[in-house]
Symmetry: C3
């Protein structure tokens, strides 16, 4: 199952310095790679690890050419991390094992669902009436795609994903709640990846929309009528409330919360565990997170925080008093 | 599949001004509705959208009657949002497609489970020994109801829900953990809705209790021996730790965390991403959330926050010194 | 199904004061226990409840012997909570109902998976090619164990768990994302418990590792190449980003977030809803959480927080000015 260096550069490009016949048995990080492994240097700050690595070959940027040359074989490419990504794909293809049935017999597919002949549906999935699954899309095990929801081409849905459960729509009435039936669906574009146990709710009247190239990690909640713009990526445990309109090429860190009925422009980056409480119309990095501290220090500061407005008033009073004391 | 305006007011009440024979093909928001659509005005602040809307008919409150009359057909009702909720239910009923088997053949039902003849169990559900499912309750696909757990009438459990997994009970012993078997179960009342992939753990000795009319969104965690009072609603990604006792008619915003062994009175409202660290015995709105800011501003403020207690001490010292400087 | 007190102390030890023939019908908390119930006092602060309890017998520490003696039968043991934990296990064994098939016929097991003959696989699980499940390990319903992942002995995986979905690995390229195939797997040690709908991702090149005795609650996300050290416990809704290296005997409170590529020493305790943004190399308790307040107070303090750095500058200026005003 090895790949020769020559075959790798033939498939992926890059300039090889070293023996094209060298056999690569595995891909490995610099620190643990041995002579049979191919590794990569993603960032110049790891140069020390490059020098110390026992890897049979390393992928480096032009700037690292000299450092790499001092230790053995290397492949030069403008973006080693991208090259590495493509190499993992090549590796996976070369090591692919025979696949079973295209639609696993344990999957429950409604006769009125439309599944492209090149899609794969794994064990114990549910695809309901009116749902559509596009070309080369893969549903891993135990995915639910509910009524009338549409998944584009080349998508990958990991186990436990739920597409198209009812949005959380309720009208208050005499102390109880009256359900608002969710009459919309979910539309997911092409090249979307959705992590394990992530949920995307169907819309109330119109559809929830996930545009092309969006990448969602595990355990994310997307509320009804949200729009997630093209190529936006969200880390695990993010929650997005209903009708949030998130632009393209945004990133959301793990555990971030986005409130409903607000707008995020293209290119907005939200740090982990940050709560987006208002529209953000300017690209940039935004954060709101209580800094971690040892518990005793935190207790003191948190207690003071509850008096912060009062402290400001006291500071103002002091300033005013100091002004008055100044000799005129 | 259209509904005439006359049939709608016959079913739901309200005062129709306009042609009862007008055929409604869809429900739609004001902004996108066309002449074949029925829309609604939930709040006077959207009056501008009302005027601009091309909807065939709109549902409005008495205060909006004049504004509505200037543009075409309308239905007057005291609470348009509630009317809209009921309309979505009417719409769903009118458009219902034939249902399959009451218990999907792929569901795994223990012979010692009791399922009301009017309940529906969808594909790939698991209902264990001793579990009971009430009248007209619906389990969507891939729901687990564990041993001895009870679900009331007219409940709706979305895909991936887990009722009655073990609570997180551990006794520390010599650096390791000894499991506390969870001998209680989960009891869920009537008219409860539970969102996709939400988990409600079984009790340690007594039961975890979800009272009538509770509404839980997706990806919520309810720990063992929690009580959630009647008609309380929780948005997505909320976590409630063991033995929390939450009153009736509370709301919890998305991503809120409730610590264990505390009490929340009836009518307590917790903002999104807020951590409830102590009992709250007075109704009201409570919040604890770091405000979002651009990252550079956040960094400065967060760094200062770690010195906040010290700043207070410095302020105190200044105040004391200023007092001493005052002429007596 | 009752157990006599004599049988209990014979199995679990402890010093019984009272009638060994007394029949225990249930285990119950002090507050609700009746004469047929066995209860326990976990902490001296509940002594008042001990005195008031109607329990047939209570488990107490030596320090509580006198208080317990004033009310009836009791068992003395150095650690009542540990004793209670073992009692729940004894109780569960004594009340065990006949088990069905060792591997439920609805489970989908790849012929190239290795499952120990003493393991149990419940309904609608998926165990993929190359996966290994150790002795006496139990998979509850609807668990997925993906290709090549390894689960040790005596583990318990609750419904909806996903082991070995792809880690979230993406290389940016021209505004879109290129997938990094995840070529590692997940290795889980012995005596690990994993809560409902929790996800543990497979590694990018090397494996994600969960060491012996780790306890994970529900709805937790563990990213690729994380290491969780021996006997570490995490409460619900925790998120751990990729390549975090978490030591042994740590605890993480509910909703905590751990960022990636950082290290936590052994014995680090993180409070609920706290974000670990940097390595923590010293054992201890760490917290970062905005304190909850009534909403009006929070609004004032949060608004001031956004000017905190400026306030500090103003305080500094005042201090400087006060120093200059001092008579030299």
């Amino acid at each position: 199952m090895a790949l020769r260096l020559g075959a790798i550069v033939e498939a992926l490009g890059g300039e090889l310095q070293g023996d094209p016949a060298l056999s690569i048995e595995r891909l490995a990080p610099l620190a643990t790679a041995q002579a049979d492994a191919l590794s990569f240097l993603s960032h110049p700050k790891y140069q020390k690890e490059l020098v110390a690595s026992k890897a049979g070959c390393v992928i480096v940027s032009p700037a690292m050419r000299d450092a790499a040359a001092r230790r053995g074989a290397f492949i030069v490419t403008p973006d080693p991390y991208l090259y590495f990504a493509r190499l993992t794909q090549l590796w996976k293809q070369s090591h692919a094992k025979p696949e079973g049935a295209r639609i696993h017999p344990s999957a429950v597919i409604d006769p009125d669902a439309q599944i492209d002949p090149t899609a794969r549906i794994s064990a114990l999935c549910v695809v309901e009436r009116g749902a559509r699954i596009g070309a080369q899309t893969v549903l891993k095990s135990r995915v639910t795609v509910s009524e009338d929801c549409i998944i584009g081409a080349r998508c990958l849905l990991h186990p436990g994903v739920v597409i198209g459960a009812d949005g959380f729509g309720l009208a208050p009435h005499q102390g109880a709640w009256v359900k608002i039936e969710q009459l919309g669906a979910v539309r997911i574009g092409d090249d979307v990846e959705i992590g394990a146990n992530t949920c995307i709710d169907r819309g109330a009247l119109e559809d929830t929309v996930i545009e092309d190239g969006v990448k969602l990690d595990n355990l994310i909640q997307i509320g009804h009528n949200v729009r997630v713009g093209k190529n936006t990526a969200m880390a695990g445990c993010v929650g997005v409330a209903g009708s949030a309109d998130i632009g393209a090429n945004c990133t959301l860190g793990g555990g971030a919360i986005v409130l409903g009925h607000l707008k995020m422009a293209d290119g907005v980056h939200i740090s982990a565990a940050t709560v987006v409480t208002r529209s953000i119309l300017k690209p940039g990095q935004y954060t709101g997170m209580f800094p971690i501290d040892d518990n005793a220090a935190w207790e003191r500061n948190a207690a003071t925080l509850k008096q912060l407005h009062a402290l400001r008033e006291r500071l103002k009073a002091l300033e005013k008093s100091a002004m008055q004391d100044k000799p005129s």
